[in-house]
């Protein structure tokens, strides 16, 4: 890539400066600080739009009583039943059952705790009340060491 084609857009890195290899005037590749290249922003945004659509659909299904609240938390955290099963140490078919409101309401206390711990919410928040956003949206990015 040539130096003049980098873009000043700083959207997806949220102000974090990244480095990439850019050829200088003599054609030497140099590690150059900068922000993301603009086409990367486009495809990153595209990937997030898909996730946002899935979350909105899940929310609507939960509101209509067709899916359990677990389905929302799974989708919002970019998981699928297989991954959720591995995180909570259960067979996949049990997770699939818990995605139905009928079985969700009848989960053992231990199972509820396991899901709640994974999604970093309280058991009460998992079972009722307002749906909380995904884990990354609840954390801020002020963790720099100095």
């Amino acid at each position: 890539m040539n130096q003049d084609s980098s873009s000043p857009d700083e959207d997806i890195a949220q102000g974090v400066t990244t480095v990439s290899y850019v050829a200088d005037a003599c054609g030497r590749q140099q590690l150059t600080p900068g922000s993301f290249w603009q086409p990367v922003e486009v495809v990153n945004r595209q990937a997030w739009l898909v996730i946002e659509q899935q979350v909105a659909r899940s929310k609507a299904q939960v509101a209509a009583g067709r899916r359990s609240r677990l389905h929302y938390y799974m989708t919002a955290n970019q998981m699928n039943p297989g991954l959720l099963a591995r995180y909570t140490g259960q067979p996949r078919w049990r997770v699939l059952l818990h995605l139905c409101p009928f079985f969700f309401q009848r989960m053992a206390a231990q199972t509820i705790t396991r899901y709640a711990q994974l999604f970093q919410i309280s058991p009460e928040e998992l079972m009722s009340g307002l749906l909380k956003p995904a884990i990354p949206s609840r954390q801020d990015n002020s963790h720099h060491a100095d």
Binding site: V19, Y21, V22, V43, Q46, P136
Partner: protein
């Protein structure tokens, strides 16, 4: 406990960690050099492995292979282990830190709170170095960040035990022994040799230069086979794997060109310099594909943008890359082994 670590920001996590760990032990090494000596460049299109229902495209060798190759260098000993229990894994980390050893970890990006939100996907092969602990926080040299970062112990434990594809199972590693200095020539030759083998001699049609051609053919048929919307998603996914964080741009091709340039200067080999220029041109070509793809994904195509046009660019990338690796193979055969 020590709190000093030479944190050098890099474009790719694994080669950055390898370079920083070696530099810490008195063997200064650039990221590009670590990437090249570790034989990091690759291409694979593996549609039977799905990430978020999209086919796996990779421009780099398998996670962990750069470190593995570097650990085979004469005189280097890398201690590496995985764990069953989170508690054991965190205790082992603390013990190593108490002995002032900076520790490399494999982690899942989704669980790291300091990562920008837009980049937090379930990707489990992110490498970083923990170099100190302060209270309940670990001080981390994450090579893709400009400065060292802080991470609470609970979050780091989660990240070390992320599940799914490439699950790290608490993997930690540190350098047990390093030589006085690394003899670069044999490592450079071995690294280039392994890349040439993988890219030119793979028996599978999905890997190496053949894989690039395979992707080009598949890509041309996406709109017909998948419909417009799914085709655009597949396309965006390829561009993300090529250009997003950790690639250094152009699907690692620019980083490898940097390695070839550095090697050319080190070994006084003009042949490598020429290969570097050719590879830079290939990287630019990959980028022109990405630009066209982004316009299509954004639904603002120009007159010349189309799937067949992109397939033609990728075929061209494949042909050019084949030439670069053939030249490098010829150089390996002709240059005297030192």
């Amino acid at each position: 406990m020590q709190t000093e670590f030479p944190h050098n920001q890099s474009a790719h996590c694994e080669s950055g960690v390898a370079a920083n760990l070696l530099s810490h032990r008195g063997i200064p090494l650039s990221e590009a050099m670590a990437f090249g000596m570790g034989g990091g460049l690759f291409f694979g299109y593996l549609p039977f492995i799905r990430i978020n229902q999209l086919p796996l495209v990779t421009y780099r060798s398998a996670a962990g292979s750069i470190l593995k190759r570097l650990a085979r260098a004469p005189g280097v000993r890398l201690h590496q282990r995985t764990f069953r229990s989170q508690q054991q894994a965190m205790e082992a980390l603390d013990q190593a830190l108490a002995r002032s050893i900076p520790v490399g970890l494999q982690t899942g990006v989704y669980w790291l709170p300091y990562f920008p939100r837009a980049l937090r996907f379930h990707f489990n092969a992110h490498n970083l170095v923990v170099f100190a602990k302060e209270g309940d926080d670990y001080l981390i040299s994450d090579p893709v960040f400009p400065q060292p970062v802080r991470c609470p112990a609970a979050d780091l434990a989660r990240a070390r035990f992320a599940s799914g594809a490439l699950a790290p199972r608490g993997k930690m590693y540190y350098l047990e022994q390093v030589p006085e200095s690394l003899e670069p020539a044999p490592l450079i030759r071995a690294g280039i040799g392994s890349v040439c083998r993988m890219m030119l001699k793979s028996p599978l049609p999905l890997i190496g230069v053949k894989g690039i051609d395979f992707l080009a053919r598949r890509l041309a048929s996406w709109p017909r086979r998948l419909g417009r919307e799914r085709a655009d998603l597949h396309l965006g996914h390829v561009v993300r794997m090529q250009e997003e964080i950790g690639t250094g741009g152009g699907g690692f091709r620019f980083m490898y060109a940097a390695f070839l340039q550095e090697s050319a200067a080190l070994l006084a080999e003009p042949g490598l310099e020429a290969a570097a220029s050719a590879l830079t041109a290939v990287g630019d070509r990959w980028r022109s594909f990405a630009v066209m793809a982004a316009r299509i994904c954004k639904d603002r195509p120009q007159a010349e943008d189309s799937y067949p046009a992109m397939a033609a660019i990728i075929h061209d990338c494949g042909a050019r890359e084949r030439q670069v690796y053939q030249e490098l193979s010829a150089w390996l055969r002709s240059a005297p082994c030192r």
